[in-house]
Amino acid sequence: MTIGNFGNLLMLICLLASFTQLLYLLPKKIDIDYRVLSRAPFFASLLAFTLLIYIFVSSDFNYQLVVNNSHSEKPLIYKIAGAWGNHEGSLLLWILVLTIFNFIFSYSKIKHVDFKKNVMAFQSLMIFGFTLFLLFTSNPFLETEITVNEGLGLNPVLQDLLLAIHPPILYVGYVGYSLVLSFAVGGMISNKVDREWAEWLHPWVLIAWIFLTLGIGLGSFWAYYELGWGGYWFWDPVENASLMPWLAGTALFHCVIILKKKNILQSWTILLSILTFSLSLIGTFLVRSGILNSVHTFASDPARGLFILIFLAIILIISFTLYAFRGPALDNKNEMNLVSKESGILANNWLLLSTLFVVFLGTLYPLGTDLFLQKSISVGPKYYILSLLPITILLLLAMIVGPSAKWQNDKILNIILSINKLFILSLAIIFGFSIYFAELQLTQITLLTLCLTLIFISIKNGLRVNQDYTIIKSSLGQSLAHIGFGLLILSVVGNATFAQEKIFQAKVNDTLILDDHVFKFNSVEQTEGKNFNAITATFYLMDNKTILDTFEPEIRVYSNPPTVTSETSIIRKFLADIYVVMNIPENSDFVNVRIHIKPLISFIWLSVILMVVGGISAIVFRVKLTR
């Protein structure tokens, strides 16, 4: 038996086992051992995925997928990553993640057996659907019909360590929300949507959220360093596809906290649980069917698009119809006060969903005009920035006020009193900054002040202590994540405001001044490279008489064919990234030097780390229900 046949057999086992398990959803209950059944798909897809990696590592060009996506001279790590850097392989990874979540969930200590079986049965429905999709439209183990000795996959841009590891991480988050959907469906069928349900769900929502946050962060990090000229987010459809479940998932875990604590908002939490994974599925549909033009476009095939759409329709219609019938009975009559922590969280929910709406509209709008008006348009960053600006301001406000309010009932005055000092402090800092360093506009002052207030308030909330002066661990996660968010917006705004660029015409020994950076043009030298002659200039970044950094931009002259290229010199520092590039105009005795300064980039990555660490400590230190 060839490896490919074995792989197909494994996927067939996965298909059959998940089919047997999904039968539990039928009204007439068949009693089966759900644990055993959840293991089969897991081990089968794990082994199949390992086989796939094996054929990539061994450069087995009997397989179409390896021929198209690998090359025998690729470094080992990129051969491995090649296994999931394509449509078929990444789909197998999807299935693997679905089964991993089902497998681990089968070990959870939930006593409500019917609920647990329903969750696992619905999860199996998804495993079944995606395995069917894999076997019929996207089989990774297809053999080549002719003999091939070498692969085609030498695309160097895809040979990047970050690019190789970010999809698996992103997938754990993106696909991890499937279990959340299964929780919602299982909860509705078993009539078990209460505080206990929220407690069971809590860690799973956070795990998916942590991985998704990290995955998005890494994707952005890659885009920044690979592109080289300072962009870290492009509102590309695929980026949006991962941002949408992130927004819904963020709203969701806040709701889960309220439900766990106050036993309210049952149907709303269920709705968000369904919505979150629906957005993951819709994103997958948009990306994999090839209907959106995107940098990430996988090979498009109408049959694949149709299959995902049908599957999407089945999952979405089942879940939302169930919600339509079960929803009204879920909610408790517990009232909610307007001034309370829970209404702060709810306000934050609506703002996150508004953001989601803006992103959703921006992503789908070009499809709409294309279909209805036969016109193609593209939605640019300007749309997102303008629409999201007011929402971000309100969101920051809600994040400042919400955590400072008490559960159930609070007085507005108390809240104002608890935050006013830090607010005034932040305002003073930003105003001072604006007066002494760089003049800011009203919007920037507003945003930066709110970010700073949020950071201060969150630090204060994080440092709250128990009576015995130990830190209250349960609010640590929230504080860290909120500091992270404040820092994120602060760095994004700061980066947009203070990015600088200037072109100089310079001669040796000139001093170039950009803002408070002083560069000295030290020398120009001619050197010889392997197949080119280079003109290398040396610029020093000076602080009085000391040299802080040395930049060596280069101009290369290749002889055959006669061509000239210029190499940028980049130095990445904690506060800002600095780029220096030069160019020699013909018949002139000076060089053109362009200097860019991109501030606060490292803080963007730091903010993502803070959010991830916040998420982790929110899981570790989560409050257990008292029974």
Binding site: L152, N155, P156, V157, L158, A223, E226, L227, G228, F234, D236, S267, L271, I274, S278, I282, F285, S289, I291, N293, S294, V295, T297, S300, P302, G305, L306, L309, L312, A313, L316, I317, F320, T321, Y323, A324, F325, G327, P328, A329, L367, G368, D370, L371, S376, S378, N531, Y558, N560, P561, T563, V564, T565, S566, E567, T568, V581, M582, N583, N592
Partner: protein, 177 residues
């Protein structure tokens, strides 16, 4: 406890409407999609050039020319190698301006490619991660566009073979040159 509330049917209704929308989008004529740019003005773009980070290749470079040909290529693309000699032939035609867009490529490899096979292009733009080519509706490499007075008149997907050069490309160029 309430048993039935029409309000709770709103989400499923919205979802169904979206599913219908998606199915319509999916049914779109794909061939129309590929020729979206035909008879339309060239898209707006701006990218650095291969030989000089500081120089740009942009819309006006192409729009100002009477007849221009934009070819999307990459050093890792094997069909591009075989197509290159056709481009070298095309570069000798007077009045035809060739431009290249180097797609998702590594700079050193791209330069080596040009060094080995010759440079038929007046200018080569660099689109390192494929974003700038999105406006051209590029699905893969190679792809070639013929532009007359700033309007796209022909799009060729895949490498141009010798017989296609004679039967398709040259007749089109003959009419406008």
């Amino acid at each position: 406890m309430k048993k039935f509330n029409i309000k709770y049917f709103i989400p499923v209704t919205i979802v169904i409407l979206f599913l219908i929308f998606f199915s319509q989008v999916l049914n779109r004529d794909v061939s129309k999609l590929s020729s979206q740019l035909i008879e339309k003005p060239i898209p707006t773009f701006n990218m650095p050039t291969l030989f000089n980070d500081d120089q740009s290749f942009n819309t006006s470079d192409v729009a100002e020319k009477n007849v221009a040909l934009v070819n999307i290529w990459a050093s890792w693309c094997i069909p591009c190698r075989s197509e290159h000699e056709i481009l070298m032939i095309l570069s000798k035609i007077e009045g035809l301006n060739l431009y290249g867009i180097n797609y998702k490529d590594n700079k050193d490899n791209a330069l080596k490619f040009i060094e080995q096979l010759g440079n038929p292009y007046n200018k080569i733009g660099v689109d390192k991660n494929g974003r700038s080519s999105m406006v051209w509706g590029v699905y893969g490499v190679p792809e070639t566009f013929i532009i007359h007075k700033g309007t796209v008149i022909y799009k060729h997907i895949g490498p141009i073979h010798m017989n296609e050069l004679e039967d398709v490309i040259l007749p089109i160029l003959g009419k406008i040159l």
